[in-house]
């Protein structure tokens, strides 16, 4: 299936409705920044269960931020059956569910996580990293010794759908990012069968210089305009 040259702008509900029970999704973002809040909200409202999530962190749900934010809404709503993440320190609810065995969480070092996603998108079979060697993280993982140095052999990650967040798209789906909202988004754009980008605005072709494009439109299936969620508004 070739992807369309001009990307359709779809509603958050249409985007969320592509997720089925058992679907693996990637969600862009790092802490508050670069998160596709509008699509996540729609996915929350749709209530789809047994979603497998790959993302950086479990977002916020803690005494300081008691109303769950972003993916934490899906977690607290019991829609997420498994996660591959690097951090859940700001989500007390997720930590509790993890401790009780109510959610399957695989923790990866963050650099390993982003590299696994990159490897998935780049058609690599894996990579060797010094990260985590001689720690508990190494257990049950394959190691390779080269020239007397030990590395962990890490495997690629891919998803059925990636929901990413960019600042601006042109009609051909070329994306640019703003500030620290870039984070995992450009890499996730390469590693899923379907890639949907939530953006502040869509501009005519030509308004983004071809030299400034960060994510080429060839990766993108559809665009969603960001909504009014208080976090979407601030990011």
């Amino acid at each position: 299936m070739t992807k369309p040259f001009i990307k359709p702008i779809i509603t958050p509900e249409e985007a969320a409705d592509k997720v089925r029970e058992g679907t693996t999704i990637m969600l862009g973002g790092f802490n508050y920044g670069g998160v596709p809040y509008t699509v996540i909200d729609a996915l929350h409202d749709l209530g789809t269960r047994d979603i497998r999530v790959i993302c950086v962190d479990a977002s916020h749900c803690n005494p300081k931020v008691p109303q769950p934010v972003g993916v934490a809404r899906l977690i607290v709503n019991r829609q997420v059956s498994s996660m591959v993440i690097a951090h859940m320190g700001l989500n007390a609810a997720a930590q509790e569910m993890f401790a009780k065995g109510e959610i399957d969480i695989e923790l990866n070092p963050m650099g390993t996580l982003v590299e696994r996603i990159r490897a998935g998108g780049a058609g690599l079979g894996g990579f060797l990293t010094p990260t985590g060697v001689d720690t508990a993280y190494e257990k049950n993982r394959q190691t390779v010794e080269l020239d007397g140095k030990k590395f962990i052999l890490e495997r690629p990650l891919k998803a059925d759908i990636a929901f990413i967040r960019a600042y601006m798209a042109d009609e051909a789906g070329n994306l640019i990012y703003y500030g620290t909202g870039r984070n995992f988004n450009p890499v996730m754009a390469t590693a899923a069968d379907i890639v949907i980008a939530e953006v502040d605005k869509v501009v005519p072709i030509g308004e983004i210089d071809p030299n400034d494009v960060v994510t080429p439109g060839i990766f993108i299936d559809a665009l969603v305009l960001k909504g009014g969620n208080c976090y979407a508004a601030r990011t």
Binding site: Q95, G111, T129, P130, A136, T180, R234
Partner: protein, 222 residues
């Protein structure tokens, strides 16, 4: 008796001592907690540049506290300084793991005589996750640990061998607590500086990590 310090004094002393140890012009990644105080204590004429693992090169103070488009790894609004830039996470971690950061300063749950650090989980109690710390400790040219010397129960956080799951094995270069500065010199943990009023023998007595006392032991600047 070791001199008593309140939380604020202890944290600031640690931050100040590390600030004085950083090289002028160094590119530094700071962890959450005590390390975040360091920019406030840089000596006059010495500048460091901050990288945040979520993608800021040359981070500075926030301009608008409500704008979350430029944040640090902890989610707090920041800004990018002139000459800085933003990178994606794959490049950010290539920078961190690839040896392009001059120094990192991280907090610790435990740190040990082998230079190992534990700071990402207390199994069955709290598992925030390792975030980027495991990559950072293997990649930064110099790893500082900034930590209170003792747990609330009085146990030393400087251990013979960490009992908590490690963040990195043999990665720590310098440990700074409110009572001392310990430098890893080719695998030997050398007590180079001690806080004014603290007795080396007593400090060692209350510290599980065996420290080699430098023949040139100094009073810690603070």
């Amino acid at each position: 008796m070791l001199p008593e310090l309140n939380e604020k004094e202890a944290r600031e002393r640690i931050a100040k001592r590390i600030a004085a140890d950083l090289e002028d012009g160094a590119l530094v990644n700071l962890g959450i907690g005590i390390p975040q105080l360091i920019p406030n204590f840089m000596p006059k004429g010495v500048n460091i540049f901050l990288q945040t693992e979520n993608g800021t090169i040359y981070a500075g103070p926030a301009k608008d506290p409500n704008d979350l488009r430029i944040i640090d790894a902890g989610g707090a609004p920041i800004s990018v300084l002139p000459g800085g830039s933003f990178v994606s996470s794959d490049l950010s971690f290539a920078i961190l793991r690839g040896g392009h950061i001059d120094a990192t300063v991280l907090g610790a749950l435990q740190v040990d005589r082998e230079g190992s650090l534990a700071n990402w989980t207390i199994p069955n109690v709290r598992t925030p996750g390792m975030g980027g710390a495991m990559d950072i400790v293997v990649g930064a040219k110099k790893v500082y640990v900034a930590t209170r010397h003792f747990e609330k129960n009085g146990n030393s956080k400087l251990m013979k061998k960490c009992t908590l799951p490690l963040t990195g094995h043999g990665v720590v270069d310098v440990i700074v607590t409110e009572y001392c500065l310990v430098r890893n010199i080719n695998g030997r943990m050398v007590l180079e500086e001690i806080a004014e009023g603290a007795d080396p023998a007593e400090l060692q007595d209350r510290t599980e990590m065996r420290m080699e006392i430098s023949p040139d032991l100094k009073i810690m600047a603070c």
